[in-house]
Symmetry: none
DNA sequence: AATGAATGAGGGTTCATTCAT
DNA sequence: TATGAATGAACCCTCATTCAT
C-alpha cells in the first residue's frame, strides 16, 4: 500500500526501538519476543513501532542492515589507509569481533537470531553478506599480487573460511560463559589462518 | 504427568516422524512448521506425534541428537583404524560435509533451523557439540605429539576454527544455488587449514 | 489452502454456532460482534468456530445461504400444489414474513446485518436473491397467461416492487417496537399490490 | 469534554469532508473505510476531521441528515404548488430516484452503508425517515379525500409499500451493472402502484 | 497404540481518537 | 484553526496440545 514507514520523524524513537529490539530479541529470541515487549522497552506505544517499521520482521532486518552498513563503511575506511594485507586481515577480524564483543545483545542477534530461517538468511547472504565476503576476498587477492599470499589459493573459498572462523569465534563466545574477551581471539585466528596447522617446512 | 514418550513401540513411526519433520522444518522453517504438517507428512494423526515426542521442540532436539550420535559414532569408528592426523582431519571433514551434502533437508535443519535460539544452542553446545569439538581437538593434539602440527598451536581454538570452516562451507552451500557438490570443498579446506595463507618459506 | 471447513463432524455444533451467531449479530451488529461472543453463546471454544467456518464472514454468508435455500425449497414445495396466481403470491408473502416474524434475530440479520457492504450484497443478489425474484416473476407471468394479471405489466419490475414491499414490511417491523405481528401485513400488502391505490372504476 | 464540533468556521472544509466521506464509504464500505482515507481524500489532516465531526459515526449520520433535510425541503417545496395526488406521488418518486441516480456514491451510502446496524437505523427511522413516510402518507390521505384513492386503504401501510418500492428500485440499480437510468423506473412504479396487478374490472 | 475434534491462550497489527505544537 | 505523530485498546485467527473414544 503505502511507502516504507522508515524514519518518519524522530530518529530518536527509531533508534530507541532498534536498541530495545536488539536487547529483547537477544534476551528472549526473535520468535518469542512480542512487539509489545519491544515497545515497552523503548518507552513507546505498541502502535508507534509501526510508524517506524513495516512489521516485526522489518525490525530484525533493520538491525542487520544498519549494523552491516556501519561495519562495511568502517571497514573500508580503516582499510583505506593500510597497505599490508595481513594487517588488513587482522583489522577486519578486529573490527568484526570488537564490535560484537562490545555489545553482547547485538552479538546474540547476529549469531543466533538472524539465522532464524532460510527466508532471512537467503535475503542477507545475497546482499550485505556477499559484499562483506567480497571485501575479504579483495584483501586476499591483493595479498597474492603482493606475493604475501600463495598464488594457488582459491580466494573465494579462503574468504569463506576466514569468515567462518570469525563467525565461530563469535558464536562460541556467546555460548560460553564469556570468561574471556572476544577480541583476544583476533591474533590467534589470524595467525592460524596465515600460517596453517603444519610447522613451517623451513623449520625442518 | 505421563512418562517420557518413547521410541520403543514402533520405531517405524518414530523414524517416519523424524524424517517428515526434517523435511517440513527444512522447507518452511521450524517456527512456521505446524505439528499437523509434520503429522500429515508422516502419515500419522496429530496426536500420535505426542506419543513419540514430548513436544514440538523435542522433535527438533531429537533430529539433532540422533544425527550427532550417528556422526560421532561413525567418526570414532572411521578414525580408529587411521593413524595419520591429517588424514584423520580430512576424514572428519569428509564425513561432516558428505552427510550434509547428501541430505539437503538435514543440512538446512542443521545450518539454519537449529540456530533458533540461545535456548537450543546453549543446550547443544554444552553436550554433543562439545564432544564433537573435543574429537577434533584430540586429533590436533595427536598431530602435535607426532610432530605433524606445530606445537605452539592452541588446539582448542584451532578445533573451533576448523569446525567454523566446515560450518561455513555447509551454510554457504545451502544458501548458494548449490551448483557444486559440498564434498568438493573438503580438500581445499583441509589443505588451507594445514598450510595457511602464506607461501611456504621453503618455496622461497 | 485447505478445503472449505463446513460440517466436519458434528451438525449439532455447526447448528449451534449458526444459531448463536444469528443471535449475537442481531443484538450487536455484525461488525461489533466478536467471534469470541459467538463462541461463548454457542458453548464452544473460540477455535472451534474455525473448524466449521472459514472465517467470520463465512458465518454470515452461511446464515444467508441456509435460510435462502430453505425458503426457496419451502416456497417451491408449497407453490407446487397451488394454481391460483394470487393465492401463490399470498403464499410467498406469507412464508416470507412468517419466517422472519417468527425469529426476530433472523429478521434483523436479514434486514440489517446482511446489508453491510456491497461486497456481501453483490454476492447475494447475483445468486440466491436473483433466484428468489425469479420465482416471484414466474408467478406473475403465469397470472398473465391465466388472464388474472394485466398483460402489459413489466413482470421483472413488478417482482422487484413486490419484493420491495415485503422487504420494507420486515424492516419496518424490526425498527418499530413490534407491537403488531408481521404476518398481519400479508393480506393488506397483497391486496394493495393486486388492486392498486385507485378505486375500481367498476365502483363508479 | 469540548463542545460539539461545528460547521461554522469553514463550510468549505465541512463540505469537502462530507463529499470525500461519501465517496470513500461508497467505495470501501463504512467499516472498512479509515478516517485517514477520508481525510486524505478531503485534503485535510486526520485531526481536522474531528474539528467538524464528533467521530466517524457522526460523519455517516451527517451525510444522512443533510441529504434527508434537502430531500424533504425540496419535496415540500415542489409539492406545494401541485394539487393532483398522483402527480405528487410521481414527483416524490422522481425526486427520490433522480437524486440517487445522479450520484452513485450517495446511492450506495444510502442503500447499503447506512443499513450498518440497528443502532443507526433505529435512530434514522424514528426521525427523518418517519417524517419522509409521513409526507407520503399525507399525499395518500389527500388523495382519499379527493376521491382519487380508495377510501378503505390503510395509508400508513401504503406509504411504506410505496417507499419500499422506491427503495428496492434504488438498491437493484446499484447492484445491477446500471445499464439503465434509475429515473426510468419512476413511471412504471407509480403506474403499478396506482393500478395494481389486476386488470381493471371495467375492462371486462 | 492411534485418532482427530476440541480447546483456548496468545500476539501481530490496525486505526479511531487525542493533543502538543 | 490545522496538523499529524503518537497512542493503546481491540480482535481475528492460529496452532500446540489434550483427551475421549
Amino acid at each position: 500500500m503505502s511507502a516504507r514507514p522508515s524514519t518518519r520523524r524522530s530518529p530518536d524513537k527509531y533508534n530507541a526501538i532498534l536498541r530495545a529490539a536488539t536487547k529483547i530479541f537477544a534476551r528472549k529470541g526473535f520468535f518469542n519476543s512480542k512487539v509489545a515487549d519491544v515497545a515497552r522497552e523503548a518507552n513507546v506505544a505498541d502502535g508507534t513501532v509501526y510508524l517506524y517499521f513495516k512489521n516485526k520482521d522489518d525490525i530484525l532486518i533493520s538491525i542487520f542492515n544498519r549494523t552491516m552498513e556501519d561495519a562495511i563503511a568502517t571497514g573500508r575506511h580503516a582499510l583505506a589507509v593500510m597497505s599490508d594485507p595481513i594487517a588488513k586481515l587482522r583489522q577486519v577480524a578486529y573490527l568484526h569481533l570488537e564490535r560484537l564483543g562490545r555489545d553482547r545483545n547485538l552479538a546474540v542477534v547476529f549469531q543466533v537470531e538472524l539465522r532464524q530461517s532460510t527466508k532471512f538468511m537467503e535475503q542477507f547472504s545475497t546482499t550485505k553478506l556477499a559484499e562483506y565476503l567480497d571485501m575479504i576476498r579483495k584483501i586476499l587477492e591483493e595479498g597474492q599480487r603482493a606475493g604475501v599470499f600463495r598464488t594457488k589459493l582459491d580466494t573465494k573459498m579462503a574468504a569463506k573460511v576466514f569468515f567462518g572462523a570469525l563467525d565461530e569465534m563469535a558464536t562460541n563466545w556467546i555460548l560460553s560463559r564469556r570468561t574471556y574477551r572476544l577480541v583476544s581471539t583476533v591474533d590467534p585466528v589470524v595467525e592460524l589462518f596465515c600460517t596453517g596447522l603444519c610447522p613451517d617446512r623451513a623449520e625442518a
